[in-house]
């Protein structure tokens, strides 16, 4: 089982859209996939029409294997299950901080489903916290969307700094440019600069700023399912293919 986290310490960068489409791509490639929605806003679950879990509170997530596995819901697609989020997840950090050995709790919780899935995708909330550190420790790969703007560059560098400070494996980070607008010259310049500064950390695939991605909220389905041949659909497929190459054991 491989654990892949979709993470950004900045909100509104297309993180959930990435998690949803990557999860779909993994599932259609024949891998048994679980998408865990760790974001209390519960957007991943929403895209798959899965209602938020009422019963799954933080204590249960980390302690009670039975409740954790019982809260998993099958999506409408083969090989793809969802662990829907719950508003109580917002207190994860407080809860985790009280727990002994907090930093590897997530990994332990995920062990319960180890034999059920080939891939577990984590859709993470946008902050750097104890939960984030848990995510970084548990994950085999951290997929990070970066909008090619100055502000995003700053948060990306903060992430790299966090990895350095906490002695985390830098190779886990697989960043890519998200919400790219070809008409904006600033976007082009930032892409060149960041790619030059962090050649190993940044992938070649780029996700465009596209109406299909925005429409996901209306259609409540991955772009790869509704419009696989659109520019956005092709971009997500390319992102998936490249990621697969990078994380292949």
């Amino acid at each position: 089982m491989q654990i892949i986290a979709c993470y950004s310490n900045k909100g509104g960068v297309g993180k959930t859209a990435t998690a949803v489409n990557l999860a779909y791509a993994f599932a259609t490639s024949g891998r048994r996939t679980l998408l865990c929605d760790l974001d209390p806003q519960g957007a991943s679950g929403f895209y798959f029409r899965v209602k938020p879990s009422k019963k799954l509170t933080e204590a249960r997530f980390f302690e009670d294997v039975e409740h954790f596995t019982k809260s998993i819901r099958g999506s409408d697609y083969d090989n793809l299950d969802i662990l829907p989020a719950n508003m109580s997840f917002r207190d994860f950090d407080v809860f985790l901080s009280k727990m002994k050995d907090a930093r590897s709790r997530l990994k332990k919780a995920l062990k319960a489903v180890k034999s059920d899935y080939d891939i577990v995708l984590l859709d993470c909330p946008p902050n750097i916290s104890i939960l984030s550190e848990n995510v970084f420790r548990a994950a085999d790969a951290v997929v990070t969307p970066v909008i090619p703007t100055t502000l995003s560059q700053r948060t990306f560098e903060q992430l790299l700094e966090f990895f350095r400070e906490h002695d985390l494996l830098m190779e886990k980070i697989h960043a890519f440019f998200s919400m790219v607008q070809g008409t904006k010259s600033l976007h082009g310049e930032m892409i060149v600069e960041l790619t030059h500064n962090y050649p190993k950390r940044i992938m070649a695939a780029k996700i465009p700023f596209a109406s299909e991605i925005e429409r996901m909220g209306m259609l409540r389905a991955p772009v790869l399912a509704t419009a696989p041949n659109s520019p956005a659909g092709k971009a997500y497929q390319a992102l998936f293919d490249e990621l697969l190459e990078r994380i292949a054991p």
Binding site: F48, R49, V50, K51, K70, S71, I72, R73, G74, S75, D76, D81, R220
Partner: protein
């Protein structure tokens, strides 16, 4: 379930979930295959061929699939694969025949909630057979975390008239009449019924088996049709000859002639079938250098078989044959024109005891004279007697207590197996010799003659080896312990 039942099922919401029915546009051809005796149905298996894919639903409910080679009718001809492997218990001699065929389409039944999320679904397969009723197969599939919806759907399918998918249920839904054939009918005989009724019921039960196998012989589906056809006729003839005095003597004689006349035209084809089925063992008996002669011999046999099969098929289609078999069927089902003989009103139990006991005594007497020097002809005579005893015991088995009866029958079968092997060796030597004598100016005559010569030598050696075993087997069968068992079961009570 039926198409109508499915439509009813999807008419209204199921526990608050909306059923959505969605059929694919593509249609496929399908066939359901089984043996003539429906061995697959009887072992709770179901074999589909969908376009070029074979699917087997096993007794345990698993689905195995593999590529289907076109025009393969025998399991032995299947490509290697899980389906072939799961069917190895079936007779290699029987062909798979089509129980139903037609077109089919796949579909999906989905139960969604008010946000359009699927909670349960079911794979659908609608079978539209060329003849018979259309049937929908439903395979409910749960989604993780929605167990309740799956339970609700399954319960709803049941209450709407759905039954579990077994070959029996499916065959009956398509065509209720297609599940009736049994090669060995069990004829219920009561102890106090008359010998006349018993004989008539037996013959009346075997005649339909004769009839039902005609189709397979005419279309040459497999060799077992003819085999079963002949067995049924032979059983009828045994009833006529073994149940002495049940019918009027003249009428019995007439009937024997008529059934014998039905049997005669089937002989040559069956003989050729037996040789061709034994091909492999013949090859293993002679050295490699003799194989080309066997090749020529079997190729000649195959071409003769084609002619014989055509001849028999033509004969079975003649109005003369049809008229005769219909007349005989009517005679035994109406019974009015059957004339009772001197033994007709005896009870079947008394009659059976006497016949079986006499036959057994006769076998013991003959067996006592058997030794290594006994001529083949006498052993052959003993074999015939044993066969008669076997038929008698099988006919009358319902009137005797099962346990001691079955154990005697088992000893008899063992003896017959030994005798059978011996007899095969003898008969094959004679027939092979006759085959050689018959060869006029065939090509490869010399090669064939040489190969047959060495075959006969080997068969003779086998025959000699079997003979010793037979003497022992007879010893056991006529031992005093065995005699006591036979006496207890079949000797009339008043003599004790």
């Amino acid at each position: 379930m039926s198409v109508e039942q499915l439509n009813n099922l999807t008419d209204s919401n199921i526990q608050g979930l909306v059923p959505i029915l969605d059929w694919d546009k593509d249609e496929y051809s399908f066939a359901i295959l089984d043996y003539f005796e429906q061995n697959l149905r009887k072992s709770q298996r179901l074999l589909f061929v969908i376009d070029e894919q074979m699917e087997l639903l096993t007794t345990e409910g698993a689905i195995l699939s593999q590529h289907a080679r076109p025009d393969t009718r025998f399991v032995t001809e299947f490509q290697e694969g899980p389906v072939k492997e799961a069917l190895t218990d079936l007779s290699p001699l029987r062909a798979l025949i089509t129980v139903a065929s037609g077109t089919m389409r796949n579909g999906k039944l989905t139960l969604i909630d008010n946000e359009g999320k699927t909670h349960a679904r079911a794979g659908l397969r609608e079978l539209m057979p060329i003849s018979g009723k259309a049937v929908v197969l439903i395979a409910p599939q749960g989604l993780r975390g929605y167990d309740q919806a799956l339970d609700d759907l399954t319960a709803h399918i049941r209450t709407s008239g759905g039954t579990s998918l077994t070959a029996g249920n499916l065959y009956r839904m398509i065509d209720h009449a297609c599940v009736n054939y049994v090669a060995k009918p069990t004829v219920d005989i009561r102890q106090e019924e008359t010998a006349f009724d018993t004989a008539t019921n037996l013959i009346d039960s075997y005649l339909p088996i004769v009839r039902v196998n005609e189709y397979g012989i005419i279309h040459d589906l497999d060799t077992e049709f003819l085999h079963d056809y002949r067995i049924a006729l032979r059983k009828i003839r045994s009833v006529l000859s073994l149940f002495k005095g049940v019918y009027d003597i003249d009428q019995t004689h007439q009937l024997k002639m008529r059934f014998s006349a039905l049997m005669t035209p089937t002989g040559p084809l069956r003989d050729l079938d037996v040789y061709l089925l034994e091909q492999e063992s013949f090859y293993s008996l002679v050295p490699y250098t003799m194989h080309s002669g066997l090749d020529a011999m079997f190729s000649l046999m195959r071409s003769r078989r084609t002619d014989e099969q055509a001849r028999l098929a033509t004969y079975l289609k003649t109005s003369r044959y049809k008229k005769e078999i219909k007349a005989l069927t009517k005679l035994f089902s109406k019974k009015r024109k059957l004339k009772p003989g001197p033994n007709s009103s005896r009870t079947s139990y008394d009659f059976a005891c006497e016949l079986i006991w006499k036959r057994y005594r006769k076998i013991c007497r003959l067996a006592a004279t058997i030794n290594v020097a006994t001529p083949d002809q006498e052993i052959h005579q003993l074999r015939i007697e044993c066969k008669k005893l076997r038929y008698l015991m099988e006919f009358f088995s319902p009137v005797f207590p099962q346990e001691p009866f079955d154990s005697l029958l088992k000893s008899l079968k063992r003896l017959q197996d030994s005798l059978g092997l011996f007899n095969d060796c003898v008969v094959q030597q004679i027939n092979l010799q006759a085959f050689v004598d018959d060869l006029s100016d065939e090509q490869h005559k010399l090669e064939i003659t040489q190969s047959i010569g060495s075959l006969i030598t080997i068969l003779y050696q086998h025959q000699s080896a079997e003979r010793e075993k037979i003497t022992d087997a007879f010893g056991r069968f006529s031992s005093s312990r065995m005699q006591r068992s036979f006496r207890t079961l079949f000797r009339s009570r008043e003599e004790f």
